[in-house]
């Protein structure tokens, strides 16, 4: 399938997904401004959000690419998918913990805001990324499956579309997490 991909096919499959991504990201930015700006700890929270969005991209991007490749080369099965999911979750927990530690460090060095228990800076990224991936992983697997079954190249379609969906849910899950943890 991929061997015959022309530049026309790449544009035709990729451009609409990019449009979904662009519109989704603009909406995510608007939702972010509306939901998070009212928090007293806004200046600290805004430090974590880019790292969290990066983490989401660093985890779900490769997860989606590995799933797409497994579909394309005919090696997709429940066992490989399960191992892919487990590895993604373990990586997310460890990295979110590291982001929490660095946030504490940056708060201590730069922001110097101590209006809540500083341990929450570890809990926020960990809980938030687990919520996000619990939505992202089933969604992206389903999209990969549908794209592949319809004869589209999942590499072209799924990642840009999932960026929009994931960024939107990262912000919603981040918001729900800080509400749940009682962050002022």
């Amino acid at each position: 399938m991929e061997a015959q991909d022309s530049k026309g096919k790449i544009i035709k499959e990729n451009f609409p997904s990019e449009m979904v991504s662009i519109v989704g990201d603009i909406l995510a930015g608007i939702v972010l401004s509306l939901l998070i700006i009212s928090f007293k700890s806004f200046i600290l929270l805004i430090l974590i959000i880019p790292a969290l969005l990066s983490l989401r991209g660093n985890l779900s991007g490769p997860f989606i690419a590995r799933t797409s490749r497994d579909f394309i080369i005919g090696e997709f099965n429940v066992k490989s998918w399960f191992e892919n999911v487990m590895a993604t979750f373990l990586l997310s927990l460890l990295t979110a913990f590291a982001i929490g530690i660095f946030s504490i460090l940056m708060n201590f060095l730069l922001v110097k805001l101590y209006i809540f228990n500083i341990g929450l800076l570890i809990a926020i990224p960990v809980v938030s990324i687990v919520f996000t991936l619990s939505i992202s992983i089933p969604c992206s697997t389903l999209l990969n499956f549908i794209a592949f079954k319809r004869g589209l190249d999942p590499n072209n379609v799924v990642n840009p579309m999932m960026t929009a969906i994931d960024d939107f849910f990262t912000i919603i899950c981040f918001y729900l997490t800080i509400i749940m943890l009682g962050v002022p």
Binding site: F15, I26, P62
Partner: protein, 184 residues
Amino acid sequence: MDYFKKIFKESIIVVLISSVMGLFSGTLLSSNEQILASFPIILLVLPSLNSLTGNISTVLVSRLTSHLYLGTLSPKIKTSNRLKQDFYGLLITILLSLAALISIGYIIGIVTGIEIVNPLLIISILNVTVLILFGVMFVFLFIGSILLFRNGKDPNNYLIPIITSLSDFLTPLLIIIFIHIFIL
């Protein structure tokens, strides 16, 4: 659990470093807040622009990886018809998407009453930034994919996290540099 171990072993360091880099992207934006606030349209389109460069790079890595596993791209650092199709397909996609992003950004800017400063120069800066990033990333990702694949590694696990964080950091950095050179 071989697949799990391979993913975890190949990803852990690169995901940790890339995600922590997200904190530095946040710091870069905070420390140049005044410059970015002078051109509100840039603040509006920046998250989508980051996603766009990240998405195109992710699509490129996942396509190259699938080609290499399928054998439709030879693991040698040389140009081929397959590579040219990917280059032109993704270049046209990123330019079309950028045009759409700028149009949507300006429409939202006009509707919401955001101050529009020096639009032609800003559009030129955004175009030059995206073209430079695309050119550099294409070469880096192509060579990186070939070298990693030759060493028995999965390019998806290494390059996608690096490129996601790099594009989040380099996109605003280049824009800020160009604003300094051409406007301030």
